[in-house]
């Protein structure tokens, strides 16, 4: 079974190659069958591998497969090698499982788009890249996946490239991620320079010897890698690309910009937990960035009117939670939330997609309302996802969010302040999610007659994935049922072998906090969430009149968050515009006059030299022989005279 690891990423890759090369010769249905089928098979393989992994003793849960040595240069040896441990097993299950559902959903959603074949080609390439990312056994190969998903993200955000906004959003995502990639690469170089290897198992074994706790090298390396993570996982200060990324088709938002790709940064931190744990300074930075991002994005989410943008800010906020978990060394909790979030956020996006589909591509919530009757399946599943994300007990989000909050409070790296911000964010989340929910599905219809005529529930191929994800949104968290609520905390134990170096998680519980404290904190959170839901209910359920008056009375605050704190404008004024001006100067003066002048001059010179050399080739044998003999004499003379 060990040699079958490669099948998981290979299947989508083959579909990508076949569809990519010959899609124009194949019918639409063949392309779709190949694209969706390959991901489905990849999921089945993942499940089989997962079962095989469970069959091993917890300490031996590591399956490796080396295909070939990819780059052997000096001491650097990068292998095309995959590994499967509990962490990557969770990731491939989420990626292929949720990915498969979204592929199925896309069949319906993209049915009328003429670019549907191209869409599936990109989606398969994305699946391949993402699976490579999470299964890579070294940082070099991980970076291949990292860049691959970035490329696919770019291609899919700008899928409708004829729209300027979509093309620009793609560009923005690409450029912002590039900034993060610089950090990633520098961090990788630093690690190779100091530890001499990029393989995760070797690194994990060598890290405690090579790096001193809190040493400069490990702190710098982890901080640099974290810069990469903030780019991919949309954290402050590099989060700005994600809201704009909503220009892509909705299934893309669900798969790439909610469930999988954006969690790559969190995965990176969890994968390298043994390094981060050696750098307490970095951990503090990660925790602060995480919780500030969580709160900051949640406040912006309060005032957005575009249904997908609310969800985008919500994603940023939830990613902040995951980062915060990593920052308090509770990597397991972060991955747990990553998984539950994949279920409910994918569902929220797909539900939103279903709404947008039904509303003839309308995304403004102010023009929706009262859709409960027309879209019953969407409504019910969306409700499940909303309850999950706000953290109502027994729904999946409750367990993972509660785990993070408790760790933020109690872990050795935690701080009650982190907990407080986390709880505030939970309250805000409950408010904006139910605001979205009520504005969309309850109250009076605010759409025009033409839209009403076309209003319809989505076809089966779209609603079945919704239902499956809804079930997962409910039960998905049960595998992490905490001990304090008489559960087994199975998820944490499953990940424990990977996190053994981290010392977080279980260790924190021995610090001596009593269960009653945990109950108390839990109760505070739940109470605040319920109050927020009630507030959203009373303001947005019936009509938007109350909302309007509320907006007027808070116009100052509203203006700030509606305009997203003017962060884009700030970046524009301080970074983008000076850069553009500098570039224009360099272009007009330095590039055109000096560089081009030099290069063109050189090209003319080379060209002239070439013409000259050509003329020397006369075709006369006697001249060739002369050249030969002169050459011989010259080399001998060179040796003797010198």
């Amino acid at each position: 079974m060990d040699q079958y690891l490669v099948i998981v990423p290979l299947l989508p890759f083959l579909a990508f190659v076949i569809n990519g090369l010959w899609r124009n010769r194949m019918s639409k249905n063949t392309v779709i069958a190949l694209a969706v089928g390959s991901v489905g098979l990849s999921f089945v393989t993942s499940v089989l591998l997962f079962i095989r992994l469970l069959g091993l003793a917890p300490e031996q849960r590591l399956i490796q497969q080396t295909l070939f040595t990819w780059i052997p240069v000096g001491t650097l040896k990068l292998d095309m090698a995959f590994m499967l441990d509990p962490l990557s097993a969770v990731m491939i299950l989420v990626v292929t499982g949720v990915g498969f559902l979204i592929h199925v959903y896309s069949i319906g959603y993209m049915a009328h788009d003429e670019g549907i074949k191209r869409f599936f080609v990109y989606m398969n390439l994305f699946m391949f890249s993402m699976l490579t990312l999470v299964m890579a056994d070294n940082l070099g190969l991980l970076f291949v996946g990292w860049e691959g998903v970035g490329l696919c993200s770019y291609l899919l955000i700008g899928f409708w490239f004829h729209k300027d906004s979509a093309a620009n959003a793609g560009k923005k995502a690409f450029i912002v991620n590039r900034i993060g990639d610089v950090g990633f690469l520098l961090g990788t170089f630093l690690i190779f320079w100091t530890a001499g290897t990029l393989r995760f198992p070797d690194l994990a074994a060598r890290a405690p010897e090579v790096f001193a706790l809190g040493g400069g090298a490990v702190t710098a390396a982890t901080l640099l890698l974290f810069v990469g993570a903030t780019g991919k996982s949309a954290q402050i200060p590099l989060y700005v690309w994600l809201p704009d990324a909503m220009e892509g088709p909705t299934p893309v938002s669900a798969l790439i910009h909610a469930a999988t790709m954006v969690t790559a940064g969190v995965y990176l931190l969890a994968r390298l937990n043994f390094l981060f744990i050696l750098a307490p300074t970095t951990l503090v930075v990660v925790a602060i960035v995480g919780c500030v991002t969580a709160l900051f994005a949640a406040t912006i989410g309060l005032a957005q009117n575009d249904i997908k943008r609310v969800l985008a800010y919500s994603t940023i906020s939830q990613l902040g939670y995951m980062m915060m978990a990593c920052g308090v060394a509770a990597f397991g909790a972060g991955i747990f939330h990553l998984m539950t979030h994949a279920f409910f956020k994918a569902l929220l996006f797909l539900g939103a997609g279903s709404v947008i589909h039904a509303m003839s591509d309308e995304q403004d919530m102010r023009k929706m309302g009262g859709l409960k009757k027309q879209l019953p399946t969407t409504y019910n599943t969306f409700l499940m996802a909303t309850l999950a994300i706000v953290g109502i007990p027994i729904f999946s989000g409750f367990f993972s969010k509660d785990d993070i909050l408790w760790q933020a409070f109690s872990s050795g790296h935690g701080n009650p302040l982190f907990w407080l911000i986390g709880v505030l964010t939970a309250g805000l989340t409950a408010f904006y999610m139910f605001r979205l929910f009520y504005l969309t599905f309850h109250g009076q219809p605010r759409y025009d007659q033409q839209t009403a005529d076309h209003l319809h529930e989505s076809p089966r191929v779209m609603t079945v994935p919704l239902v499956i994800l809804a079930v997962l949104s409910i039960v998905g968290g049960w595998i992490g049922w905490p001990k304090v609520l008489l559960g087994g905390a199975w998820f944490e134990r499953f990940l424990a072998p990977v996190m053994s170096h981290a010392g977080g998680g279980a260790a924190a519980e021995t610090v001596g906090h009593s269960p009653s404290l945990e109950y108390g904190l839990m109760a505070v959170t739940i109470a605040l969430v319920l109050v927020s839901i009630y507030a959203a209910y009373s303001i947005y359920n019936k009509s938007i009149g109350r909302a309007t008056s509320l907006r007027q009375s808070l116009s100052g605050v509203y203006k700030v968050i509606y305009n997203k704190y003017w962060v884009d404008e700030f970046y524009g004024a301080t970074i983008v515009r000076p850069l553009v001006k500098g570039s224009i100067f360099l272009w007009k003066i330095f590039d055109v006059v000096i560089i081009d002048g030099f290069a063109n001059g050189l090209a003319y010179l080379t060209g002239d030299a070439s013409t000259m050399g050509r003329k020397m080739q006369t075709g006369h044998l006697r001249e060739y022989l002369t050249a030969f003999l002169i050459g011989t004499v010259l080399v001998i003379g060179f040796l003797i005279v010198r």
Binding site: F68, S610, G613, R614, Q617, Y624, F628, I636, L639
Partner: protein, 484 residues
Amino acid sequence: MVNLTPLLPELFLFCWALVVLASDLFSKRRSASLPGYLSLAGLVITGFLLIPAHDAYLWGGMFVSDPFAVFFKIIFLGAAFMAIGSSFGLAGRMTHHRGEYFTLILFSTVGMMFLASAKELITLYVGLELTTIPLYVLAAYTKSSRASTEAGLKYMIIGAVSSAVLLYGLSIIYGLTGTTFLQQITINLSIYWLSYGELGPAFSIALMAILAGLAFKLALVPFHMWAPDVYEGSPTPVTAFLSVGSKAAGLAAIVRIFVGAFIAFATPVMAPRDWGSTLAVLAAITMIVGNIVAIRQTNIKRMLAYSSIAQAGYIMVGVVAASNLGVSAISFYVFSYMFANMGAFAIVAIIAERTGSEQIADLAGFSKSSPVLAGLMAIFILSLAGIPPLAGFLAKYYVFAAAVQAGYTWLVVLALLTSVIAYYYYANVIRMMYLSADPNPHHIVPSFPAGLVLALAGIGVILFGLMPEPILKLAIAAASSFVF
């Protein structure tokens, strides 16, 4: 009775070449298939015979079958295979001497194999002549074409002069050391050196005469003048074979003699009789002239001729390093160069066969009319230019790494600069095929053997760029045949 196992591949291929010659008597008038396929089969069988012949020597070390020899024999066989595979169209139009055509290529291949195994000067020289003489005939094979006849004649006259220069150098070495065995030459030279602390100008003259004689085979500047005319005039598959097989043979001889016997004189410490710095200067001039003159060529065969002159310059950068890494790097380089260059020439042959044109400008719109061929051509060209992830990139990388390690940073900087010039003329071909708006009227489908050659070359260029490990291992083993 001498055990001839190490010689088995050469003996077999020689006999097989005679069989091919005879087979033409029985083949149909207008078809080249029988002798052609027989030749291909013979080359494959010879390849397998290399396995039992591995790691052995004959006649007191005159003829060795070390990893270096075997590696280069694989290259010769590969080059011959691809040259013959792309010759079917040409041979099909021949009315006379069809069997001889294939036989001569096989004879030349036998010569190359001898050459690679020779560790003794006379054997080496005989191998060299056995390689070259069939090539003179092959260059002039299209008797009806003035260019071809001219090519053959020019090649032969300059070849004869260079042989004379080479022999002159070899004879001085014999005079100095009293032996023709390379190993003994090294020993005698060091005794001579230790006793007198001086070798005199005769040794310098010998070194350079040998270098000049072999530089002719590799078409290093200024011993390159014959190459563009001969490459252009010869039948295209012969040109391909000249540019790969014959060049690799010359390289094998240079490495055998200079790295094998004169390694002590590679470093500048031995100035003024160090061959390393002279060869570095030759490599530099070769890269500059080859690349620059290639820019203004309009005929694709001539362009590829200059390109292959430049490529020889890059290979010399690895020889100059005269180190373990250097020899394994050039071995890998020639291996990847074989695929890319044979592939590119094969496509030129296929196109010229059909359209009768060898002009770069006539490639316009080729990507639309024959997308697969155009794609392959682009891949071969990109590999020659050294673009990752193709094999040519890694080859350049290793060669440059070896030279930097040996302290020839200036040479590598120059090599990088000239390879930028190379991008221009390489990219020009791709630009013509892909970006020109002119429609191309020819939809070209290669014949089966030519398709086989293209598939082989394409797979080689891509596969060994992505997973070079198996070939690298062989190349490193090849370098282990020498003492550094």
